[in-house]
Every structure is written in structure tokens, then in C-alpha cells.
């Protein structure tokens, strides 16, 4: 726990100054490889659609979760855990509470779990989900925004957890465990970290990905700081760690990524939301129009029957499952099922056709767009890192690219 006194902070500027000074000290320690305290971390969160339409306030979301929010100024709160009786950090709201960022100095091993616990406890909050394909687009931004001689860091993670049925109930939360305690399963598992100059990685990533498909599953990416050493590490579940000496710069990067993600969500929902809309006509009466487009995930190679069955059984046969889906599969053949189920995190309907070759999802109107990005992230990490994704006839990659157009990095 960082022994920082938050109580004297009365404004956004004071918070930024506090974290700026703190970041500078931590960067010095990092350079000397003697970090004593937690780095500044940001957790990008999304409140689900519908929140804005209701009278729910941010306080009403967090209060039942045992959190105390004290407003400092418009859109900025101090957040404390009432049970632990300690300050966790600051919560900043963007776009009328649609997105939130929690800034904390707590150590990762504490606050990662705390934030995941919070998200698991309510359907009104979700992480910002950055899939491998989204990181591919962000990598283009890193290349464009950064001096090519700066260092970046990328992490690629893929674990084919459905290749062998370990018979273990999957947690919805990743547990930190001692490697020595782990049972040995023979299945594909990759975690690769690359640290190098941008110019050396610039044109090579796509070659690496062609050679070794788990490298499509980017789960961390560092934006080098343009004003100081170090940078900002973004994680697939919406965490960003400040490894630079400037919090101001860190916050600018967080907002940059958040603006792109927000645009992605809007575009995703615009295309994917299925509904039968009643359209009134001039002369009275109305018509029912079907609008929307399916989310389509095509596996690079067909899943074998064992993997397919394990994926289905462990997702829909277990209350706790990695994908947080509920449904009673209607089996239409050895390698085909239909599920008219629920996204158990947001408690919103989702319809799925899953075969050994593809997954089709129908997202009814109102189901939050981050269901799509969570699904794509998890498919890339746990099932098929190179799976191709589209929404209707628009490739997901193109949606990600389009979402970033016109959004500029600005220093706040």
C-alpha cells in the first residue's frame, strides 16, 4: 500500500500534480531497479448501456459494492473500500459516466484482484476489452506516434485451455498460482514478451504472426512516452501501468486509447445490434424491419471434436466459465450447437451458433458492444489466436482501423 495521503486532494489539478510527483519518484526507482512502491495504474472501465438512460449515478453503482465515493469536482471522485477501510485511488468519469478510469497506487497483485472482484459483482461495470486485433491497430499508432529508436514492449499470450479437459472448474478470475504447484497438461501454451526498438519491430510483426499464430494474440503493448523515458503498458483487460515519469502523459495516453475504444463500441453497436424495428409510415400503421449484422468468428483451422466438445462443455456445462456465458446448448450435430443464452456478466441475451469451424453471435439490440470485444479477446487468448473476425461483411480489423481515424493523441 502506498502511504500517500489522499485526503488533502481537492481538485483534478492537485490529483495530477500528486501523481506526477509520485510517478517521477517511482521512475527514478525503476531506473535503479529498486521500486519500493506501486506504480500508478489506471483501470479503464465501461458502464453498460442503459446506465445513461436510467437515473443510476456512479455512486449508486459503487455503493452496493462496498465502495465509498467522495466527489472532488465534476467527474472526479476519491474511492475507498469501506470493508478494508482504505483509499484505493481516484475515479474519473468520462462521457457522462459511460466510461470510468480508476487511478491507483496499490500494488498490482492487490488492485488487479480488487478491480476484477468489483467487475464480477455487478452487471453495470465491465473492463475495457482490448483484443489482439485491437492491439494490432494500436501497434500501428505506436509506430506512427513514436520515435523509431524508442523501445516498446509487447506480450503475446495464448493458452489452448480447451485442448485437454483438465476437469478443473475454471475460475472467472485468473488466479495467481505458483508454477511449481501446477499440474502438467500437454497443450499449446505461449507467453512471449518482446522488448525492442520500434524500428526493429516495425515491419516484422506480421511476419512473426504468419510464422507463429499465437503472436496474433497480443495482450500487452507499451506506448513509449513522448516526453520522458519509459512508457505506458496497456493490458488486454483495460489496465494501463505508468512506467514513465509523467502522470500527465500517462493520463493523455489513457484518454487516447479510451477515445478509440469508445468509437469502436459505437461502431460495433451500430452494425451489430439486431432488432426488429417498428417503422411508422406516413399513412398510419407500421412495418417491422430487421436490422443488424452477425458477429462472425471463423477459426483458422477447424477445431477437432475433442476440443470442440470441451469448449462447449466447459462453457455451458459449468456455472463458472471463462466466457461468462449461460445457455442450454441445442445440439444439432456432433460439431454444431445453437445457444439462445445470456451474457452472464451484463445479463443480456446473446444467440450463438458454434461449430468446429466458426462461431456466429447474434447480439440483440441493447446488449452492450463490449460483449463482442470480450468474446473476441477470450477467443484469441484461449481458443484460436488467429481467428478471423467480422461484423456482417465488415472485417473487425477494419472497424478497429476506422475507429482510430480522426482520433488524435493530445496532451491534457
Amino acid at each position: 500500500m502506498a502511504d500517500i495521503n489522499f485526503s488533502g486532494i481537492k481538485s483534478r489539478d492537485e490529483m495530477i500534480q500528486l501523481f506526477d510527483g509520485y510517478s517521477f519518484e517511482r521512475k527514478e526507482e525503476l531506473d535503479q531497479k529498486k521500486t519500493k512502491k506501486g506504480l500508478v495504474k489506471s483501470y479503464l472501465l465501461e458502464t453498460v448501456d442503459g446506465f445513461q438512460d436510467s437515473t443510476t449515478s456512479i455512486t449508486e453503482i459503487f455503493d452496493p459494492l462496498g465502495c465509498e465515493l467522495v466527489q472532488i469536482e465534476e467527474g472526479l471522485y476519491k474511492i475507498a473500500d469501506k470493508n478494508l477501510k482504505r483509499h484505493i485511488g481516484f475515479l474519473e468519469s468520462f462521457w457522462s459516466g459511460r466510461y470510468l478510469v480508476l487511478y491507483s497506487l496499490e500494488l498490482s497483485e492487490i488492485v488487479d484482484k480488487w478491480i476484477k472482484g468489483l467487475v464480477l459483482s455487478t452487471p453495470q461495470l465491465d473492463h475495457v476489452w482490448l483484443s489482439g486485433w485491437t492491439f494490432n491497430m494500436l501497434w500501428e499508432k505506436v509506430k506512427n506516434l513514436s520515435n523509431p529508436n524508442r523501445f516498446t514492449r509487447m506480450v503475446f499470450e495464448h493458452e489452448s485451455i480447451f485442448e485437454i479437459d483438465s476437469g478443473i472448474e475454471e475460475g472467472e478470475d485468473e488466479e495467481i498460482s505458483n508454477d511449481e504447484d501446477r499440474a502438467i497438461f500437454e497443450r499449446r501454451s505461449s507467453k512471449i514478451a518482446l522488448v525492442d526498438r520500434i524500428r526493429l519491430l516495425k515491419d516484422k510483426l506480421s511476419h512473426f504472426q504468419d510464422l507463429y499464430s499465437p503472436m496474433y494474440s497480443i495482450t500487452q503493448l507499451r506506448f513509449p512516452s513522448p516526453i520522458s523515458k519509459g512508457g505506458h503498458d496497456f493490458f488486454y483487460f483495460g489496465k494501463a501501468t505508468n512506467r514513465s515519469e509523467s502522470f500527465r502523459d500517462h493520463r493523455s495516453h489513457v484518454l487516447y486509447v479510451l477515445k478509440i475504444y469508445r468509437e469502436m463500441i459505437k461502431r460495433t453497436q451500430d452494425i451489430a445490434w439486431y432488432s426488429i424495428e417498428k417503422v411508422s409510415i406516413q399513412k398510419g400503421g407500421e412495418f417491422q424491419q430487421l436490422i443488424g449484422a452477425p458477429l462472425i468468428i471463423e477459426f483458422k483451422d477447424p477445431l477437432n471434436e475433442e476440443t470442440f466438445n470441451h469448449f462447449i462443455d466447459s462453457t455451458f456445462g459449468r456455472v463458472k466459465n471463462r466466457f461468462r456465458l449461460w445457455g442450454n446448448p441445442i445440439r444439432l450435430g456432433p460439431k454444431k450447437i445453437h445457444v439462445y443464452g445470456v451474457d452472464k456478466h451484463l445479463w443480456q441475451p446473446i444467440f450463438l451458433e458454434i461449430t468446429n469451424k466458426h462461431l456466429i453471435a447474434i447480439i440483440p439490440k441493447g446488449t452492450c458492444g463490449n460483449t463482442v470485444h470480450r468474446l473476441v479477446s477470450n477467443i484469441q487468448i484461449y481458443l484460436d489466436p488467429a481467428a478471423k473476425v467480422s461484423i456482417g461483411n465488415k472485417p473487425y480489423k477494419e472497424i478497429a482501423d476506422d475507429s482510430s481515424k480522426g482520433i488524435t493523441y493530445e496532451q491534457y
Binding site: S275, Q282, G285, Q289, N328, G333, Y340, V342
Partner: protein, 347 residues
């Protein structure tokens, strides 16, 4: 048993197939959206189209056995031109004296500007129209003959008539699904290919059905899959309502609302009042016997609804945990799911 031959004759399968063939799909998922490729998208589902009053007066004068209005299953619209395709799905063919022929006359009379008026489109827009029956491939010949006779009858009475085309559905021993559109119809419908076109890639011992947008239509014969779909969609709507509920709160489980949400609003369009009433009774019975009996202290019966009282997080978790274990809504379907018997394959 529900063989593939029975599936392709099923009205709901035909409707959902046509809806899928008009969806934007950019990848190879074993489903070829040939109608979307040809520029069509879904304009409307089961719209009520009334013949304009002057036409109605004239058909009475001429003693033409047509309905005053009709509801084709789907209207597709071709994007690049104002061409509307009125799609009607049929299990089997019909003759000129059947009740289906009255509906056919009305659809054929909804030609060009008459359809534009029925759709309340701008009077300046030039509208093209065409009727297409979707049926099992072996039923198309008789439908075409019937429609040709009806068209001749209409035109000889001084009316303009739509062309009537047929899209046949067939399958092979690999459970792949094809549509069959002859060259003339393909040209009239502006479909980019003609002949036998594979639209769903089959797999051995596998039901070729796509996900159903429309889970049930009480006006046609019910099937196990449709009922199973509806019950799962009902459960998911109930779970969604409770899962998103604040604590403490009262959640209203309104039978009509649940049915409407589960069918994406199609429930309110169903004309069969008895079927609607029966469904309402079944859903109410489910809420009463399967939920209210288990949680009598939390559920109160209101007017056509059940009020669920969620006092605490524990209440909510108990409900969710109970519902998450549910496999179906027995009240809707007592049958065990036996969707597809791969041993009954037909060419």
C-alpha cells in the same frame, strides 16, 4: 423424428433461411447469403398490406376472389433499385381454388405503384415489385402453374399483375441445403446466379438449420426446434431481467412483455388469438408452477404479471442460481428434444 426433408418444408425454417440469405456476411461460414450478394436486404417482416380502395372496389365488380389485404412473410428490397420482392413461404403447393390462391391474387395485384401505395411510399417513387414463393423444390411446378393461371385471370380483368417466381429448396445426402431458381426467375429476381445454388454447407449427421431470428409462428404447424428456441429465449429474457435488477427492487414479470421480447416483437403481430392466449397461459403456468411455488415469499401475482420482490443480494443470487440450472420450459414443450435423425437422409 425430424428429418431433413421435413425441415426444408417447415415454414419457420424457410422464413429464417430467407432472412439469413439476405444478411450481410463477409466470411466463409458455410452459409452463402446469395440474396444479400444480389443486393437484397430485409425490408419488412410480415407486413400488413392493404389493397387500395379503388382496386378493392374493382375486384368486387369483377368477381375476383382476392383478399382485401395480405401479409407476405417477408419483403426484401434491392438496394440499387426500388425493387421489392414479396416473399411467401409455403410448405406445399396449392391450386387455383384453394384459400391460398386468394392470398396469391392479392399479392399479384400489389404491383408497382399499388404496392408503393400499400407501403405508403412517396407517390413520386417508381417502384418495381415481384412475388416469390419459397417452397420445397418438388412443389414449385404446381405453384408456378397456379400463379400463371391467376396472373392470366387478373390481367384479363384489366389489372396489372406482378410476376410470380419460385425459389425451390432442396438438400443432398450430405445435409447441404440448396436453392433452385430457374434462369427466367433468376433474371426477373435479379439474382446473380441461377440453377441449383448451395446455400448451406452440410455436415454429416448434422441439422442444417441456421440460428432462428423468428422462433415461432403459431399460425403454422409447430416444430420441436421452434418451441425449444422460444423456451430458451424466454429463460434468457427472465434471467436478463433479474440479473440486471437493482437491489432492493420489484421486478415485474409480465407474460406479454416476456413473449414480445422473446420473439423480438413478432408476438404482437400474430393473428391467431387462440394461439397467443394458449402461449400466455403456458408462460403464466410456468411462472406460477416453476418459480412462484419455489419462492412463494418473493412472488406476488398481479394482473397478467408476477411481481418479484428482490429484497437483498441473497434473494437475487438465489433466483439466478435457480434459473441458471433450468434446462427449459416444460409447459411449452413436453417433447424431448430429438432434433435430427441423421439416419433418415433423402436426396
Amino acid at each position: 423424428m425430424n428429418s431433413i426433408d421435413k425441415i426444408i418444408g417447415d415454414h419457420l425454417f424457410q422464413m429464417n433461411l430467407i432472412l439469413w440469405l439476405a444478411q450481410p456476411i463477409g466470411m466463409n461460414i458455410g452459409l452463402r447469403a446469395i440474396l444479400a450478394e444480389s443486393g437484397y436486404s430485409v425490408y419488412s417482416i410480415s407486413p400488413s398490406l392493404a389493397l387500395p380502395i379503388p382496386i378493392r372496389e374493382r375486384i368486387r365488380e369483377k368477381n375476383i376472389a382476392a383478399q382485401d389485404g395480405c401479409s407476405p412473410d417477408i419483403i426484401l428490397k434491392r438496394k440499387s433499385s426500388d425493387l421489392f420482392m414479396l416473399v411467401e413461404c409455403k410448405k406445399q403447393s396449392f391450386g387455383i381454388e384453394s384459400s391460398n390462391s386468394e392470398q396469391a391474387r392479392t399479392m399479384l395485384l400489389l404491383e408497382g405503384q399499388v404496392l408503393a401505395e400499400a407501403l405508403a411510399l412517396s407517390s413520386t417513387s417508381h417502384v418495381g415489385s415481384i412475388v416469390s414463393y419459397v417452397t420445397k423444390d418438388d412443389q414449385t411446378v404446381l405453384i408456378k402453374t397456379t400463379c400463371a393461371n391467376i396472373r392470366a385471370e387478373i390481367e384479363s380483368s384489366g389489372f396489372r399483375s406482378n410476376d410470380a417466381c419460385c425459389i425451390g429448396i432442396k438438400h443432398d445426402s450430405d445435409n447441404s441445403i440448396y436453392i433452385n431458381v430457374d434462369v427466367d426467375d433468376s433474371n426477373r429476381l435479379n439474382i446473380i446466379e441461377s440453377g441449383v445454388i448451395k446455400v448451406i454447407e452440410g455436415q454429416p449427421d448434422t441439422d442444417p438449420r441456421p440460428l432462428y431470428f423468428i422462433p415461432l409462428d403459431p399460425s403454422v404447424e409447430q416444430n420441436v426446434y421452434g418451441k425449444k428456441t422460444l423456451e430458451q429465449r424466454l429463460l434468457s429474457e427472465i434471467l436478463s431481467l433479474i440479473g440486471r435488477a437493482k437491489i432492493p427492487s420489484n421486478v415485474a414479470l409480465t407474460v406479454e412483455d416476456l413473449l414480445s421480447k422473446s420473439t423480438w416483437g413478432m408476438y404482437s403481430l400474430w393473428g391467431d388469438n387462440n394461439a397467443r392466449k394458449n402461449l400466455r397461459r403456458q408462460v403464466n403456468s410456468f411462472l406460477k408452477n416453476k418459480i412462484a411455488l419455489v419462492f412463494p415469499q418473493n412472488l406476488m401475482q398481479g394482473q397478467d404479471e408476477w411481481i418479484l420482490n428482490l429484497e437483498s443480494l441473497k434473494d437475487k443470487e438465489s433466483f439466478l442460481s435457480f434459473l441458471l440450472k433450468m434446462k427449459g420450459v416444460e409447459e411449452l414443450s413436453k417433447d424431448q428434444l430429438e432434433l435430427f435423425d441423421g439416419t433418415n437422409k433423402q436426396q
